[in-house]
């Protein structure tokens, strides 16, 4: 019995099959549902309905804003952390890094629930009573908390790779601390920023567990919308999902997420 000879290309077949069944096929199904009506006939009705409905457009805008704020806040917190961890000579700094990543090992719903209870407790104090109805604040807080590790890790790995001699060169040439940051650190950590932004921005548009539990379900983001529509109108649900897909695709493309750049790849998790 002679075994068929495998070429190296044949090793790709399982991945190809996987992609076909779990990525391409579902997308085609979404596309199909988005452009058909309940009876299965081709129709643009959902498309028109989506873009003529101010509520749906507003929800996209709100989700974008929530995601944007989350990303900016996460970046502002994560950047100094990553910088300090990468540049300082603290012993066992991986322990500190680990502490930041540790929450990711605990069930996500459990963590969000814990924050919810924490806020409930805080809101009982007179001075913090405003917390009870600060639904947008709590939602963004939860999102930042949840996605922070995804911002810190790529930043940390990129910054670790910046050669120390570059800083020395900058100092030798008379660059102040500020100039060094602006001309050396920031540009060289850009791939990490991009990678972190992509990983935080996109999920925070759809993570409705946070907005439901911390925003008391009074904050509606696009992910929740899709979920609600899939309860009884798959076609509209698919259309919203499709629009979101396009928004995500465009923003990834524009921020250069598809570039198979060496540094970007290294910075990804």
């Amino acid at each position: 019995m002679k075994l068929p000879r495998f070429s190296r290309k044949a090793l790709c077949i399982p991945y190809g099959v996987f992609l076909l069944f779990f990525v391409v096929a579902p997308m085609l199904v979404i596309l199909f549902f988005a452009f058909t009506d309940a009876a299965g006939h081709f129709s643009f009705a959902n498309f028109i309905k989506f873009f003529s409905d101010p509520t749906k457009l507003s929800t996209i805008v709100y989700s974008l804003v929530i995601a944007l704020v989350t990303t900016v806040v996460a970046l502002l917190i994560a950047y100094p952390v990553a910088y300090i961890l990468a540049r300082s000579h603290i012993k066992k700094k991986y322990v500190i890094l680990m502490l930041f990543v540790l929450p990711m090992w605990i069930n996500f719903v459990l963590r969000v629930n814990a924050i919810r209870e924490l806020f409930n407790l805080l809101a009982q104090a007179e001075a913090l009573a405003w917390l009870a109805n600060a639904n947008y604040f709590k939602t963004i807080f939860g999102m930042v908390y949840d996605f922070l590790p995804f911002m810190i890790l790529p930043l940390y790995t990129t910054m670790m790779k910046i050669d120390n001699s570059l800083y020395e060169a900058s100092a030798d040439l008379g660059g102040s601390a500020l100039t060094t940051f602006a001309r050396v650190t920031l540009p060289l950590s850009m791939p990490g920023i991009m990678s972190g932004v992509t990983m935080v921005f996109l999920p925070s548009m759809t993570n409705y567990v946070v907005s439901d539990m911390l925003g008391n379900a009074k904050v509606t983001i696009i992910g929740k919308f899709i979920y609600t529509y899939f309860g009884n109108d798959w076609n509209m649900g698919s259309m919203i999902a499709l629009v979101l897909l396009v928004v995500v695709f465009l923003s990834t493309w524009l921020t250069g997420g598809f570039k198979a750049d060496e540094t970007v790849r290294g910075a990804n998790l």
Binding site: M1, L3, A38, G40, D53, P54, T55, K56, L57, S58, T59, V61, Y62, R116, E117, N120, A123, A132, N133, D212, M213, N216, A217, K218, T220, K224, F225, T228, Y229, F230, G231, N232, D233, W234, M236, L250, L254, G256
Partner: protein, 553 residues
């Protein structure tokens, strides 16, 4: 082991495997598989919280968890003893009626489902894309109380179901269903039922420490408690459109000349008969026309403004820890919350912390509320088994769950109310065991309607709290509560679309049109700018592509 050997072993074993399977298949009798699809936590699962376990404790024994098996295991044993055949129940659960419907629509196969009233109607009226119906009717023999198998009168459902529930299922609970649409009873056998209302904490204090009588406030405001500023941020609504739309209808149509309250008055004074009254309120609570939606929308907005949260399962916990004062809830969940709160907090040794017990109450709005039923329906799949054994097993399952002792077990475990009353009023003993008190004339709690008897003849003796606001009142509502409740129909096509739109408008924020236009323009401008920066001057469609650097030799 070289590759060749490995391959031959692999091939040989893969050839052998199916025959192992065949051997196993041949050795025993054929096993019928019954696929049951039920709500989460909606059946006795045995163990420490079960009726059997607590009964053993009551008898002074020291049971362990294995002494209280899940009811499904008991069904399998019973089926084998009675029918002499093996059945294997493959049990799975769903979270909402809509989830269940989607699963069915996707083509997932189940034999026995437990949807709510409106979903039963939807399934009974709809057909699949290939034109086949979703549901299978019950056999004629299922309704024969005398039918015997192996010397046992096995049609427990028809013998033990409450006459009141039976009538509701035969009349679609007073809904004006269009001509030609089936009765629930053709497709469904009842399982659990109840009302919706408010769980509230009767002993709350405001910021200054003055006690607030929520009970009186509820009686005064009724549905309008949802928009009352006294409970701003302290009340919850449900995060699903049906229940919250129902509540908003209550808020909108409570007052006014032909409003819900006025109708209730007219009913109490005898101006309206029960049938007329039910018809009127059912009509109001099922209004879905555009005019109604326009009227309800501002009220829904006010509700959203006033409530603490839209919730599906956080309400019970928030109630117990004092975050909220009122929780709009289904009666079974209410019973559960009341039971839990009453136990109080436990310390590390499992003892109750003194003073942590909380005695919550339940209230069904005077102006009328929702009456709901969950029932077992069989899918067409049971009829695909030519031997008829799947259908037989499905009907046997319903019958087994309807045997009074099993109905008690399920009810005890989940807190909801079984549709079973028992042919010899067995359920009455159970109610008495749970909530009964001393036999004082004035403490009589009349449940005759549920047992199908003349008013004033059947009931239990219970203290005033149980009769008016506690578990007994929530789990086994008195006739005066039932008489003012209405069921919800399913939303027909157009109505469904209108209500979805309404719900998304309520849940999401809507910006002004000009704001959207401005934002869109800004986004497009940023996108164009980025594209320009990225590809500035580099876009040239006519330039030939540069040759690749490497050539195959």
């Amino acid at each position: 082991m070289n590759a060749k050997k490995f391959a031959s072993v692999f091939l040989a074993s893969s050839l052998l495997l199916p025959s192992f399977g065949m051997l196993a298949g041949c050795s025993g009798e054929e096993v019928t598989v019954l696929k049951v699809y039920n709500w989460e936590e909606y059946i006795d699962e045995g163990g420490k919280d079960s009726y059997v376990y607590d009964m053993l404790l009551d008898e002074g024994e020291d049971p362990d968890e294995d002494d209280a098996p899940p009811i499904i295991e008991d069904f399998e044993t019973w089926y084998k003893d009675t029918y002499g055949e093996e059945v294997k129940v493959s049990y799975s659960t769903f979270g909402t009626n809509e989830d269940m419907y989607n699963e069915l629509k996707l083509g997932n196969v189940y034999d026995l489902l437990c949807p709510s009233d409106y979903m039963i109607m939807k399934l009974a009226n709809e057909v699949r894309e290939d034109g086949t119906p979703y549901l299978e009717k019950y056999d004629e023999s299922f309704f024969d109380p005398e039918r015997e198998v192996n010397g046992e009168k096995i049609n427990y459902y028809i013998r033990n179901v409450s006459p009141y529930i039976k009538k509701q299922f035969e009349t679609n609970a007073g809904l004006e269903t269009p001509e030609g649409e089936p009765r629930w009873s053709e497709y469904a056998a009842g399982y659990m039922w109840g009302t919706t209302g408010f769980v509230y904490n009767p002993e709350v204090r405001d910021k200054q420490g003055n006690p607030i009588d929520l009970g009186s406030l509820l009686e005064e405001k009724d549905w309008r408690i949802f928009i009352d500023s006294n409970v701003k941020g302290l009340i919850t609504a449900k995060d699903n459109v049906r229940d919250t739309y129902f509540a908003a209808l209550g808020v909108t149509y409570e007052e006014g000349e032909n409003g819900l309250s006025a109708l209730h008055e007219a009913f109490l004074s005898g101006e309206l008969s029960q049938e007329e009254y039910t018809k009127e309120i059912t009509r109001i609570f099922n209004r879905t026309d555009s005019e109604t939606i326009d009227a309800v929308k501002p009220e829904l907005m006010k509700i959203k403004e006033n409530i603490h949260s839209f919730e599906t399962d956080t309400g019970k916990a928030d109630m117990v820890n004092g975050t909220i004062w009122l929780n709009y809830a289904w009666s079974g969940d209410a019973v559960y919350a009341l039971n839990e709160a009453e136990l109080g907090e436990t310390d590390r040794n499992g003892n109750t912390v003194p003073g942590s017990e909380l005695y919550l109450s339940y209230y069904v709005p005077e102006a009328g509320s929702n009456l709901w039923f969950d029932g077992w329906v069989m899918t067409k799949h049971v009829a695909e088994d030519p031997s008829g054994k799947t259908k037989q097993a499905a009907q046997a399952f319903v019958n087994f769950m309807s045997r009074p002792d099993n109905a008690m077990r399920n009810s005890y475990y989940i807190g909801y109310t079984s549709v079973i009353s028992g042919e010899n009023d067995e359920m009455l003993d159970y109610i008495d065991w749970l909530y009964g008190g001393e036999e004082n004339e004035e403490d009589f709690y009349d449940l005759s309607y549920f047992f199908g008897r003349e008013a004033g003849t059947v009931g239990v003796y219970a203290d005033e709290e149980q009769r008016t606001s506690r578990q007994l009142y929530a789990q086994f509502p008195p006739q005066e509560v039932i008489s003012r409740c209405a069921v919800m129909d399913y939303y027909r096509k157009d109505a469904s679309e209108r209500i979805n739109e309404l719900w998304s408008q309520v849940k999401a924020e809507t910006l002004d049109t000009w704001a959207i236009v401005v934002i869109c323009l800004v986004v497009v401008a940023i996108a164009l700018f980025t594209v320009f920066v990225k590809f500035g001057g580099k876009i040239d469609l006519f330039r030939p592509k540069p040759k690749k650097g490497y050539h195959k030799v």
